[in-house]
Symmetry: D2
Subunit: 302 residues, 4 copies
């Protein structure tokens, strides 16, 4: 399996040349674009990794999965889905257009507008407390108590995130967010949580086992573990989710750092990293690697 | 199981009162809105039905699944997906807006614009021959050689389908369709194929068994059976597909006649009918029935 | 004045190099892009021309001014403006997007959708009779009984006008047009009326004199002559109308053939021709020439 | 004339019942909706007023005319129109959609997005200095040195202007605005400048005389006085500008306070006030009054 993974990485690494590094967050543009790595953890307890993964990179949009789980645990499905929809969209992740058409309720929790609303629903009396609760959930899913923020990325995002700030004030206008600045603060922080491919694989495994971690702890309610995997299939890869569902068929969530969290129900968790992105914001090499792996190991859920 | 199904039908029938009959095709508006029925065929060979299903009703958008399969068999994935995308959309099924933004290539084959392109790709030297090939595929999937057109509905659709005609000429402008009038003819005919709930259940079973019918014939290539089920999950229930994936988790395709084709991989095929529609075009009672059934029998693929 | 005009033409002819010939109507793409000419007829009876104008070219969108006048004479303001709006739009002339947002009522009569609705309102029991009435109005405004159709352009437009056909069926869906094919026939014919720069100047003069022609005949009611000049200012130059109002300040209507009809109230009518178009569909040289002329002679109405 | 104006006011006052008070700025919602008043100052030195005008009300969007003039005086046409367009739009004044389609450059200076860009271009080392320069221009146009801010309205707008804040950050994302918070501060202040109907009439007179005030001072360059009147015709009445041009034909700019500044070239300046607004944001009674006045006195420029 290890050799097989190394072979796949070798095969798909050159495709990174077709992508480019994220440039809108300065910290993300200073990486080696040909980096490509993968970690796998199976329900049978096997652990594999291949390629070259950096020690840590930021979660970015992958954090939307975590905050959705936490908001649902905090507020319940009814309260959350009154403020954010369940529908995939053909629009880019940072589009504001649909918000204007049907005022205020973002189409789903995996686009930025929806994720901002979701973050505003996480309980805690201060931003610090709310971040602490997010970090705690990530740590328990990944079974790694050392996960924390990458402050350089956080400061960088906070200083340049004008479009997210625009979006948040737009949502405020329609009463979908209470405290805009606190929500933005939390959002920039959750995006800056630093993890490794191993962490992602372990988190994917937790979802694959319906929310149970290695220690047998039910970290996430079974029903919610299923629910977020559904969102990962329909909206997890931005507006390339449909194609990814067809060609890979694995619940997955990508971030503009180049990381991807994937979870094959009852089989395995997968973490992938490759910083060169396609025009929709997904890791070029990472997507190819997952499609190849799914085809070879017959991982599609369909 | 039969009693269980009757119980479910009884439970969800009143919800039909929240919907209304399709009025844009005159033939569809003359039905009893409280009709609700279901047929189930399992991989173990069991057959159940409950409620009151009409003897036949038209496929409408359910036919998009069939023509997609046939176009893929005729032209291959590459040729088909050069002309139609794989992405779900938050827009209504008959929206023309996105076409104008990214000229000519419809977002997916389950919206009208995409289905028109798909129909234009089906092989045959005449409209009759092409319709014959569609009918033949439906008959083999349903294992019912008597399936044919409902001509009253067909004439009615042809006489009033201005928006589809508009869409087809728009696609012609961008070279995505060759012969507009022949394509529209075929499209109105495929929508008017008359089937029963039993037929739908048998078709769903064929997809659930990766394209094999009762006689052991591989009616559809295994890979394509999987592919269309993926589209059914991401785009099968119009712009309520995301919610249906969360709450039911079953590959399904609805039509404005009130029918729904559903397929639970390796378990069963389901046909549902209830003509009162919600504002997105899905059967109100049918959707509730499938969500309830999925919850009770734990049918979600996620 | 003649020398002055020749000087202006010489000055602005090179700008044609920045534009390109219309290619969507085959007949329009076979012209010399550096052609540029102008005719002027003043309220004092003076007649000037300069540059090289072809003997005849087709009216294209300039005909929208004529059909608007005729529809208003036929049906009255109330009936016409129930079906078409009065607002300029930032969208391109052939956009269908806004129609979908606010179903069916085109924003104004100078975009294609609005012009189709207007054409459908012209009285006459046959297309021939309706075209005859349009031609008669053009002939009386231009005081040239020999104006007729360019049939080669007409056949060409009819064979390739898929987008207009799409638009017309979209309008039919919302009940804004009765007989789609008859309306399209008339529309393609009105666009193919062949005129010269002199004809345009004479027509502009008629509008400048509030609808009176040389013979003292009140060809157009005074109120309507004023009304169409207002539309020419707010929407006459497609989605460059605002800039043209600022920089020239003259009521004008352009067509993709490269012609422009302009009318300076109580002063003069102007006809311009230059087939190289900018990206919004206006004659590059023609627009420059009119801006220069307005600046030199202080023609702005503002 | 005085009697004639009183008659008109009496005639159109009841129409106010069809509108409603602006509710998005709390300070604006506490007025008598049946208030309707008008002031007229002619180039011949005559002064009239009728109806009941409040002593002062805020400029709101009327201030967009003033800041456009000042920005053009400060930066020149080239620099200003590189950042804001000249085209009218069929979209509402607070729409963000078009910004997303053609990133960053607002369609014109009379919609909020464009006005924010314009305000950011006004010279001055502090917000106070820049506001001082705006106030000074208003005072010289109105020949009233006592014009100042209504601080209650200003604080109210600043506290609730989420949509404008959203818009400003969106523009920042595309580099169209430098200092977002300073720009917003200035924008909320300019909207809160308090004037009377007499002030508006005097300002309209200044524009009617091509920028010259009573004292013979050339307050505004002649060319700019003409330019802003053109914008007032094409975009001054939000997305009802086209209809107002047809039915009144007078350069005018409205604000959501219910005021309207109007200027008839070489004839008169007009100030109108009526706080009940139609759905597009224009004073219901004010618009009717101006249309009636234009028809009676033949004021249309077309």
């Amino acid at each position: 399996m290890k050799d097989f993974l190394e072979e796949l990485v070798k095969q798909y690494r050159p495709s990174a040349g077709e992508g480019k590094l994220a440039d809108y967050i300065p910290e993300l543009s200073a990486q080696d674009p040909t980096t490509l790595g993968i970690s796998v953890r199976t329900c049978d307890g096997e652990i594999y990794s291949a390629g070259n993964c950096p020690e840590r990179f930021t979660m970015q949009s992958i954090s939307k999965v975590i905050t959705l789980i936490l908001a649902l645990m905090d507020q319940g499905e009814k309260a959350v889905f009154e403020r954010v929809g369940m529908e995939p969209t053909g629009d880019p992740f940072n589009s504001i257009y649909k918000l204007e058409q049907a005022p205020g309720k973002p189409l789903n929790p995996m686009i930025n507008a929806g994720a901002l609303v979701v973050s505003s629903l996480i309980k805690g009396s201060t931003v610090e407390e709310r971040l602490g609760r997010i970090l705690s959930l990530v740590q328990r899913m990944a079974e790694n108590p050392n996960i924390g923020l990458d402050y350089a990325v956080y400061y960088s995002e906070r200083a340049t995130g004008f479009r997210n700030r625009s979006m948040a004030y737009f949502l405020k206008e329609f009463g979908m967010i209470e405290d805009v600045e606190a929500t933005l603060e939390l959002y920039f922080q959750q995006c800056s949580i630093a993890i490794s491919c191993d962490d992602l694989a372990q988190m994917g495994l937790c979802l694959a086992r319906l929310g149970e971690n290695d220690a047998g702890e039910q970290v996430i309610p079974r029903e919610l573990a299923r629910l977020v995997k559904t969102f990962m299939v329909t909206c997890g890869m931005y507006n390339a989710s449909g194609e990814f569902a067809i060609l890979a068929g694995i619940p997955a969530k990508s971030g503009v750092s180049g990381g991807i969290l994937a979870s094959v129900p009852e089989r395995m968790g997968i973490g992938v990293f490759g910083p060169a992105l396609d025009e929709k914001g997904n890791s070029v090499g990472g997507v190819r690697l997952l499609k190849g792996l799914s085809r070879e190991l017959n991982l599609s859920i369909f």
